[in-house]
């Protein structure tokens, strides 16, 4: 297949960017989207042109490093799929594809399509953990967790931190990301001791990073490659209000 790509190129966070059009030729439908970009890049390098920068690493859909707004949708048109697992058979021959970076004040562009998601790390650092040191913990089977709760906590824990929720949200809100972690620990017995402090600290850091507010459009849930549910957001709200008005 042959495609036209409109790609956002931006040297660094200080320089303004613009769209540049490229041809992607002789693309196999079996290629992943990133392999298609590899082909384009290799051609660019051959002609001494700066290759397109994009974040990627595991290419198995689990590390959360790949991103890309593809035709206005984070990780492209296929649901529950990261860009690295999106294959070119999802596109039509001759199609024009617009590729943009995640757009959010909290995610400054590093170069081209790569953005800095350090804000996510800082939110996790604010309280996304159980305060246990190495050693001196009870036997694993002393903590009983009903299967249903363990499964539900697991669903929240599958977040890969890619930022698609922020990219999809019209307000660039990080609520789905933050709530997934708050929920995981709020449900598990291990997280109880710090559950309210955690909710407060993580929400406060989220606000400081400059993410927008949640207006419950649920675009995040629809676009999340790991299908994290917005019930997590409701749970985080509960945790937070509980922390602020009752337990705090």
């Amino acid at each position: 297949m042959n495609l036209t790509l409109k790609v956002w190129r931006q040297k660094n966070s200080q320089t303004p960017g613009k769209f540049v059009t490229y041809k992607a030729e002789e693309i196999s439908p079996d290629m992943s989207f990133l392999e298609m970009l590899d082909v384009v890049n290799e051609k660019l390098v051959k002609t001494q042109e700066d290759p397109i920068q994009f974040d990627h690493d595991c290419r198995e859909g689990i590390c959360g490093m790949c991103s890309l707004m593809i035709n206005g949708e984070p990780h492209g048109p296929k649901r529950a799929t990261t860009t690295c697992q999106l294959h070119m058979r999802s596109f039509n021959d001759g199609e024009t594809i617009v590729i943009e970076p995640w757009r959010a004040a909290a995610f400054p562009v590093v170069k081209d399509l790569a953005v800095d998601r350090g804000a996510f790390d800082r939110i996790q650092q604010a309280g996304g953990y159980v305060s246990v040191g190495t050693g001196g913990v009870p036997d694993a089977n002393e903590i009983l967790i009903p299967k249903t709760i363990a499964d539900e906590a697991f669903n929240s824990a599958t977040c890969i931190g890619c930022g698609a929720c922020v990219a999809a949200c019209k307000n660039a809100s990080a609520m789905l990301f933050v709530s997934a972690k708050v929920s995981q620990y709020a449900m598990l017995p291990q997280g109880q001791t710090e559950r309210y402090e955690r909710a407060k600290a993580m929400v406060s850091q989220m606000d400081d990073e400059g993410f927008g507010s949640c207006t419950n459009t649920y675009a995040c849930e629809a676009q999340c490659p790991k299908e994290i549910k917005v019930t997590n957001i409701a749970r985080m709200n509960r945790e937070y209000f509980n922390a602020e008005f009752i337990k705090g």
Partner: protein, 644 residues
């Protein structure tokens, strides 16, 4: 230089406890006077950084990705072993030790492996306390499964994402220490050299991948937790960024490289579709619990399949060869990885492979679907089936999966002693980056165990011993070695940037990968290896003349990053070939065609090769010097591995 593995005296089961008691301690008030550098934030790196910071040391942690959570440990699917014996099925520390030693084809150190088995139980406790959501039973207790050919159920798992959940656990512990100011985290930073002062590792040189700044960092000890070097094959299940650079540059500064030729080829990967392929995707080998591996009995049928004249379901039961079940009746489809992989290659080499390329075998679930029902199979493997469907566009519920082996893990790595210290004092290697625990073949669900054992439960004790010895005086950053090393790194970057040839770095990488896979992959021969050595050395020479490296240093420059990594792979490749040539036997992941039993199984030579090959760098284009660490087996009897 004589290799001293520093294995403690005494009975196997008491070695580690005794050793812990004999190790020197650092006074709690003095701990904050020590700086430790941790490179890499996978399971080994994140757990080490967090644990050391908890003890009070100042830790600087580095990763090349945009966040410590991206490290490739995250991609491990199957599970993590621990000798908990929660199943009452006869597991014990000794059995885990025994299985690991045997699985590694008797090429690992007894003492290390025993310690690994011993601390495995603590790892599970630690992870559960952190809130890692392991699979549970209805009673609320932890669930276990049997994995990778083990005869007991000792594998703890978190759906098909055990690596992710464990890494997020370690990442959360790391985050807590970052929040408390005990760990300073450097993301998008790549280690490009090791600073050695008066024979001791005292710092590193890094390149900031965003603005190109070349920086030096000083510390009392340096921990390399930088993973394996499977990407030397270009196509592997490793992440795109996984590289050998940190370990290789440390090697060039004096750290010996142990058993570089031991590479693990994983049997259940999705086959290659074409030249554009950038990486291979592994599917958990738990699939082999319910899937049956087969190919057509005849080349003729296989031809017809490949041409699309018939489909898998058109082949009658009696025309199918379930070759693993046929050859290994007691283990069947669950034979260890090296055996499963080699047999798949064999049938494909015979011309009985399937798929367009003929480089694949079937993994068939139709029997299980008939026996257990589609829902049960979906509950167990649903996510893997979906992944397969997504990548191949073939529905595995309706037609058998196609699988082919792919490079997955490297058992070799920097040589370390019992304390995980390399041959450079003050430089440690943890996790996949070291060579230590898996011998010539790693068992399933053991990589996660080793990474976390090293980081949580070994290094916090052993590094203290070294630190107490050298004392808390600040590292002298004015020592000329810092400036000298930085300059060498800058020069190397300049040289790379001056390459304005006509061949892309990726093309070199692909060429190297093809050589390695062909001659130093699943099976090796003296003739092939010698050929490979020449090919690699020519390719390397060509690289330094004709590669294209674009841009400048002071920017995000993927061209430069890749070039540096591929340059190191081009050197490592040759060492792997040397090591494979040296080892005139077959063991685990290293299969030499000249050395096999009449049935085609690996034939070890314990009399001459029961040693660790530790290679010392002797300068540019000089042959490396081989040091041997003899392996002493006092607790297990060396036998031919049999899975019949």
């Amino acid at each position: 230089m004589k290799l001293d593995a520093k294995i403690p005296e005494g009975p196997l089961a008491e070695k580690w406890s005794k050793h812990k008691f004999n190790l020197k301690l650092v006074n709690p008030a003095n701990k904050r006077k020590y700086d430790i550098i941790v490179v890499g934030t996978g399971l080994a790196g994140a757990s080490a950084a967090a644990s050391l910071a908890e003890l009070g040391y100042n830790v600087k942690a580095f990763c090349f990705q945009d966040s410590p959570r991206r490290a490739h440990s995250i991609a491990a699917q199957g599970g993590i072993n621990a000798a908990k014996n929660y199943r009452n099925d006869g597991d014990s520390v000794f059995r885990l030790f025994y299985d690991t030693i045997k699985g590694g084809d008797y090429r690992a150190r007894e003492a290390n492996v025993y310690r690994l088995a011993e601390v495995s139980v603590n790892i599970i406790d630690q992870c559960v306390a952190q809130g890692v959501p392991f699979a549970r039973e209805y009673g609320g207790l932890l669930d276990n499964r049997s994995f990778g050919g083990a005869q007991v159920s000792r594998t703890f798992y978190a759906r098909g994402q055990t690596g992710q959940q464990l890494l997020l656990g370690a990442y959360s512990a790391l985050n807590r220490q970052i929040n408390e100011g005990k760990v300073k985290m450097y993301t998008r930073s790549e280690m490009l050299d090791l600073v050695v002062v008066d024979g001791k590792a005292q710092g590193i040189v890094t390149r900031n991948l965003v603005n190109g700044k070349i920086e030096t960092h000083a510390a009392h000890a340096v921990l390399l937790c930088t993973g394996g070097y499977g990407n030397v094959f270009y196509l592997s299940t490793n992440a795109m960024g996984s590289n050998v650079t940190a370990a290789w540059r440390a090697h060039k500064r004096g750290a010996f490289f142990g058993n570089p030729c031991y590479t693990q080829i994983h049997p259940t990967c999705i086959p290659v579709t074409g030249d554009h392929q950038s990486k291979l995707t592994l599917m958990s080998e738990s699939l082999r619990n319910d899937g049956r591996v087969w190919v057509p009995k005849t080349v003729d049928l296989s031809q017809k399949l490949r041409n699309g004249e018939i489909k898998a379901k058109d082949i009658k039961e009696e025309d199918r060869d379930y070759f693993l079940e046929r050859k290994y009746p007691s283990f069947g489809n669950l034979v260890p990885r090296d055996v499963a992989s080699r047999n798949a290659k064999q049938v494909c080499d015979e011309g009985r492979g399937v798929g367009k390329s003929g480089l694949a075998v079937f993994l068939d679930f139709s029997d299980s679907i008939n026996r257990l029902g589609k829902d049960t199979v979906a509950a167990k493997y649903g996510n893997l089936f979906d992944m397969y469907y997504q990548i191949t566009d073939e529905n595995p519920y309706e037609q058998p999966m196609r699988i082919y082996p792919a490079v997955h893990y490297t058992m070799g790595g920097l040589w370390v002693d019992y304390n995980l210290m390399t041959s450079v004092p003050g430089l440690y290697a943890l996790g996949e980056a070291n060579f230590s625990d898996h011998g010539a073949n790693r068992l399933g669900a053991s990589a996660l165990m080793q990474g976390l054992a090293d980081g949580y439960f070994v290094i916090p004790y052993t590094v203290g011993d070294y630190l107490a010895t050298i004392g808390p005086a600040p590292v002298n950053t004015n020592h000329p070695a810092f400036e000298q090393t930085r300059k060498e790194v800058e020069d190397n970057v300049k040289t790379l940037l001056s390459l304005k040839g006509n061949k892309t770095v990726d093309e070199y990488h692909r060429d190297l990968g093809k050589i390695m896979w062909e001659y130093c992959g699943m099976s090796r021969s003296e003739e092939g290896l010698k050929k490979a050595k020449k090919l690699i050395s020519d390719l390397r020479e060509d690289f330094w003349k004709n590669a294209i490296v674009l841009g400048e240093n002071e920017e995000v420059n993927q061209s430069l990053e890749k070039a540096g990594r591929v340059a190191d792979f081009l050197e490592l490749g040759e060492l792997m070939v040397d090591d494979a040539l040296n080892r005139n036997e077959s063991c685990g992941g290293h299969f030499r065609e000249e050395y096999q039993t009449p049935e085609g199984e690996a034939l070890r030579n314990d009399d001459d090769y029961a040693y660790v090959a530790a290679w010392e760098y002797k300068g540019k284009n000089q042959p490396e010097e081989l040091h041997k660490e003899e392996l002493v087996f006092e607790n297990v009897k060396l036998t031919q591995r049999s899975y019949k």
